[in-house]
């Protein structure tokens, strides 16, 4: 089936070339990071995780959200999603690959990566994260590829695949839960020390992931002969609506506990993010845009008119992707580290090399996504013809 990846239009090859160039630029800057050290990033003694780990966290959510198309199809026998499960699974493959790459570029000593396996340490959440992420990648590659192959050959997929598909369903929320536990169990970090972190992660994932899938489905329809289907997109839109509403609700639950209890160690991080602390707060406008935008998007999605019009739906989905990205990709990590345990405010801002490496990883992910989608779409086109 892979042969489909090598025959395409000029536009397909141009896209591949652009993504490959960005990936190559990122790789060259990464070589610089390898020789100089992580000092070329904006990270510091106080904000010791930054942009890389933030992208990782966001993308785990995108990966986990594939379950939102797999579950209705396989557990509820919702036939319509049969057309789009492959898009969800391949999106998950690309997203998990990016997650793993972001972890690697964030390591101070990537040459010692395999110490994770040589000295397995069950009391570290990172150990479990490694297991669930790699497991999820494996499950999605196997399930996605074999189901697609069976579809192409017009035969039912192998019987032994069913248990793996069913396993991938609970596995999806597990990857984002474990990722939340990386943060939610640290005693000195008031912003992260909250039981609602994993639920919040999941709700924002199940909003932003399917929202991205809707945009991808619209793109696929526009640029290929394969139509993922209006009903499918509308069902995804309903999923996004519920998830974003729950996400906003969870955010206000968090705000209530933090501000009604008035415990400074929990409040100060919110003050930093939404008002600035000790005269510093470059994230303030971003955070307000994120939460106000998220609330507006949630209200817009409730309206059937806006949801059913694919143009307004696409715009609202775009808003959801951007606002949840700011919340997780900018606020979560910086907000947790500022103020530091000594109540000093040392802000973090990503540097140009850091952003180039980040873009390189995203480009690599989208390169994989483009190739996988090309294969999937070609198979679907062939079946139709």
């Amino acid at each position: 089936m892979l042969e489909y990846a090598f025959v395409g239009t000029r536009r397909y090859y141009t896209l591949l070339a652009v993504l490959a160039t960005l990936a190559a630029v990122g790789f060259l800057v990464y070589l610089k990071q390898l020789s100089f050290g992580l000092g070329i990033t904006g990270m510091s003694r106080d904000v010791s995780w930054g942009f890389y780990i933030a992208q990782f966290t966001y993308l785990v959510g995108v990966a986990a959200s594939a379950v939102m198309v797999v579950l209705p199809y396989y557990l509820h026998d919702y036939k319509a999603f049969g057309r789009v499960t492959i898009l969800g699974e391949f999106l998950a493959v690309a997203a998990v690959t990016m997650c793993l790459l972001f972890i690697i570029v964030d390591l101070g000593r990537p040459d010692r990566l395999f110490n994770l396996i040589k000295y397995p340490t069950p009391n570290s959440v990172l150990f479990w994260d490694m297991i669930v992420l790699n497991g999820y990648l494996f499950l999605n590659i196997i399930c996605g590829w074999l189901v697609l192959e069976a579809e192409r050959n017009q035969v039912p997929p192998p019987k032994w695949l069913k248990p793996l598909i069913l396993l991938s369903i609970p596995w999806a929320p597990s990857i984002h839960t474990v990722t939340a536990f990386l943060y939610a169990g640290l005693p000195g970090r008031g912003y992260w020390l909250t039981a609602i972190m994993a639920p919040r992660f999941l709700s924002s994932a199940f909003a932003s992931g399917p929202a991205l899938l809707i945009l991808l489905a619209l793109l696929v329809r526009r640029f290929t002969q394969f139509d993922p289907g209006r009903e499918q997109i509308q069902t995804l839109a309903k999923i996004v609506t519920y998830a974003i509403l729950v996400n906003v609700f969870f955010f206000f639950c968090e705000l209530f506990t933090v501000f009604y209890s008035r415990i400074p160690e929990h409040m100060d991080h919110f003050y930093y993010l939404f008002y600035g602390l000790q005269g510093k707060g470059w994230l303030v406008p971003w955070m307000w845009f994120s939460i106000v935008g998220m609330c507006i998007a949630a209200l817009l999605m409730v309206s059937p008119k806006i949801r059913q019009n694919e143009t307004t739906l696409a715009l609202t989905c775009g808003l959801i992707i951007i606002t949840t990205y700011i919340d997780k990709g900018l606020g979560l990590i910086s907000g947790g580290f500022v103020p530091n345990p000594l109540h000093q405010v040392n802000e973090y801002m990503p540097t140009v090399p850091e952003i180039l490496i980040t873009l390189g990883v995203w480009a690599t992910g989208f390169l994989i996504l483009t190739i996988l989608y090309k294969v999937a779409v070609s198979v679907k086109e062939e079946i139709r013809a």
Partner: protein, 265 residues
């Protein structure tokens, strides 16, 4: 229905590995703590800082002694003026094994609107607390940081993968990362102690190399009596005597890490 001893043992054997792993996640450190209790007869190092004797000058001497001995780079005042860094980079890259900070930072949440005036801006000597229940050890994915039976929280800089989970875990900001090659910034390299490479985490190891030779930690030796060091498990040790005779405070004791650096104020 009941279960006989034989079946129970079989089941326990089957659950063995998974059971230990689950236990580790829900009650981290409990297994180790239970083992440590049975070894209570041994040594448990602790440090008492007598703030009545710790002037800024004494504190500077302690820091100097430690950082010179352990090849800690000086990003604030590089040995070669050509290597001078911007304020931003100094702040970001700084490596601290032992350092000072004011009361309001060292004891966040303890400050009062009206308080003993001497506390205002009083500089406390800060270092790794060598916690009994260290979050850094709990989160390390490779056991590159681990707790010795004598209480020292150790670092294996040859195993560390530089994930910096321990830095996120430490509630005292006691850990530093090598954001770049530190060697050009070491004023005078001490050949008897290793220098570090790019990309690993480091911190105070309570001079384990000196303890092995029966010497006191370098900061204690340089403090002229302001720092008291000894074995908590020994009733007549200087630390036990100091803790018996004085009211002492610790940093963030409510987090349950059981820090082992005490302050007489």
């Amino acid at each position: 229905m009941g279960i006989n001893r034989r079946d129970f043992l079989k089941l326990a054997g089957l659950l063995g590995l998974g059971g230990k792993a689950a236990f580790e996640l829900v009650l981290p450190g409990e297994v180790e703590a239970a083992v440590a209790k049975t070894q209570a007869a041994g040594t448990r190092w602790a440090l008492v800082v007598d703030m009545r004797k710790l002037t800024d000058k004494v504190a500077a001497r302690c820091i100097e002694a430690c950082h010179t001995l352990h090849n800690v780079p000086n990003y604030l005042e590089p040995p070669d003026p050509k290597l001078a860094l911007s304020e931003d980079l100094k702040n970001r890259w700084q490596i601290k094994w032992i350092w000072t900070d004011v009361y309001e930072h060292a004891f966040v949440g303890f400050e009062q609107d009206h308080q003993w005036e001497k506390l205002q801006g009083m500089n406390f000597l800060l270092l790794c607390n060598h916690c009994d229940n260290p979050p850094c050890v709990r989160v390390c994915p490779t056991q590159a940081t681990y707790r010795r039976p004598d209480g020292i929280v150790m670092m294996d800089m040859h195993r560390c993968i530089g994930c910096r989970f321990c830095m996120a875990g430490c509630p005292y900001a006691a850990r530093s990362f090598n954001w770049r090659d530190p060697r050009p910034y070491i004023p005078k390299i001490n050949p008897d102690y290793p220098t570090r490479e790019i990309g690993v985490v480091e911190k105070c190891l309570l001079c384990e190399e000196r303890l092995a030779q029966g010497q006191q930690p370098a900061c204690v030796e340089a403090s002229g009596g302001a720092l008291i060091f000894g074995n908590l498990n020994e009733e007549n040790s200087p630390v036990r005597a100091a803790l018996r005779a004085h009211y002492t405070i610790r940093r963030k004791p409510y987090l349950g890490t059981n820090p082992q650096v005490y302050y007489i104020v």
